[in-house]
Subunit: 279 residues, 2 copies
């Protein structure tokens, strides 16, 4: 899907290009999951299928395209403002004045895509504000996961802030994760009891980008803090017994997770540092 030529589809549907650092799932993964779950064609500039299989020259060219988006002197493409940080989404001919629309901020990209690809709630009515709110809350949790390994200096090496990382990780494991887990368990419970979520979905009775976003955070934490999550699973049965396995098997998601397009965790937001996990 990622390698599809956008030019062939220009007249019939929007062409989406996801722009993100090559080789990492990172924050690009939230948008990938939404696009894959909805079967939406897209070009993934830093994605494994586009970038990983190319020769050196192709990779350099693709990397150049990615980093041009966040060039430190850019005033933005067309009428779009410059991008502060990746990921970004480019949509041809969708900007003010007919040029490209280039937008960033994952929560914003997902809200933009959500309504267009059918992942913003059942009627694109009031529910869409809950979908957005829950995705932003899951993304806050992601930021806190990132800060476990970079608590005091964002650009310095992890090894140079190891002691602070241990303190922050203790707070993350013992206070923040239970707070977020307890919260999302209640969201699932409320949507099960009052509507038709069945414990499978956060808002209403079908998949939204709030689900794919929360799923990715849980999946990342299962990788980064396996012992901590294992010990807590029993306290959050809807999350771990219903929600997580259901979303994993959703059409589009299942095929994606089994494909070579799914990038392995490594040195991004979710990192496996056993010394930061429960001992």
């Amino acid at each position: 899907m990622s390698a599809e030529q956008p030019s062939k589809r220009t007249r019939t549907s929007p062409t989406y290009t996801l722009i993100y650092h090559p080789g990492l799932p990172g924050r690009g993964e939230f948008t990938r999951l939404a696009l894959e779950a909805s079967g939406t064609p897209y070009t993934d500039l830093g994605g494994e299928a586009t970038w990983g299989s190319g020769d050196k020259k192709t990779k350099e060219a693709l990397t150049g395209q990615v980093y041009a988006t966040v060039a430190p002197d850019s005033l933005g493409e067309g009428n779009s403002p410059p991008v502060y940080a990746l990921p970004a989404l480019r949509v041809e001919n969708a900007g003010t004045g007919g040029g490209p629309l280039v937008i960033s901020q994952t929560g914003n990209m997902l809200a933009y895509l959500g309504a267009k690809i059918g992942l913003a709630g059942e009627e694109d009515g009031p529910d869409k504000w809950h979908v957005s709110e829950l995705a932003l809350t899951a993304l806050d949790w992601t930021n806190e996961a990132h800060d476990t390994h970079h608590p005091v200096n964002m650009m310095a090496y992890y090894e140079d802030q190891l002691e602070e990382s241990k303190k922050r990780s203790k707070d993350f494991r013992e206070a923040r994760c239970p707070k977020f887990l307890g919260y999302f368990e209640r969201v699932l419970k409320g949507n099960k009891e009052k509507r038709d979520g069945e414990g499978k979905y956060l808002v209403g009775g079908k998949l939204t980008y709030a689900d794919t976003t929360l799923w990715q955070v849980i999946d990342g934490l299962l990788y980064a803090f396996p012992k901590e999550l294992e010990a807590r699973k029993k306290d959050y049965p809807l999350i771990f017994e219903t929600f997580y396995p259901t979303i994993k098997e959703e059409k589009g998601i299942k095929e994606y997770l089994a494909s070579e397009r799914r990038i392995k965790y490594s040195n991004g937001i979710f990192r496996k540092y056993p010394e930061l996990d429960r001992q």
Copy 2:
């Protein structure tokens, strides 16, 4: 404005209630500024005019209403999911099924309000995604400002993480602030050169909630890190000579800032700890 009785307006316009911790500008302030800039009536449950002037019993009742919103066992009001953290916005009769809509996450609240109160860009067209993106980026900066005094444990005292706070503040002052300032300076420049922003506005030619949000971050940082910002002002002339003073004088904002409704900075996100500022 804050003390207006919502019941009188039910039939003619939505009734907005801002729900936030009493006595702090904090993250509630971003929504207050948007409502004030647009002259939108609202009830401000934790606001100075509602909460500060009441007797003990009234204050307790208001505080009870505020914290009921984030009760740790809540499944959410009506068909709205529970709220993870304040601020929240309640809109009567606007939820799925006709009940109240209760939404949280500042960026989401601002996006919801933006189109309704005329602060989402000139045509509520493609620009609205840029307004949202820039507001979210300014809110990220706010989160980083918060973490300067709580870098390793969100609930522990500042005094117990002073050494870590000094390290994080150094990175915030020397790397993060210049990155955000340089970015927003470029956004203002691009919107001045390519459209009609005049250096006054971030997107298009009139005020949006991206402007009020960025303004509040700069204002908070001028309070919290006065020496650092003073030393950097000359490098970002559009921000400090055009944008910041213009927004301060906008209709609605000017009157609000001079009113008793504007809560003073104290122990919220933006704190004046001279030991964390430039020495």
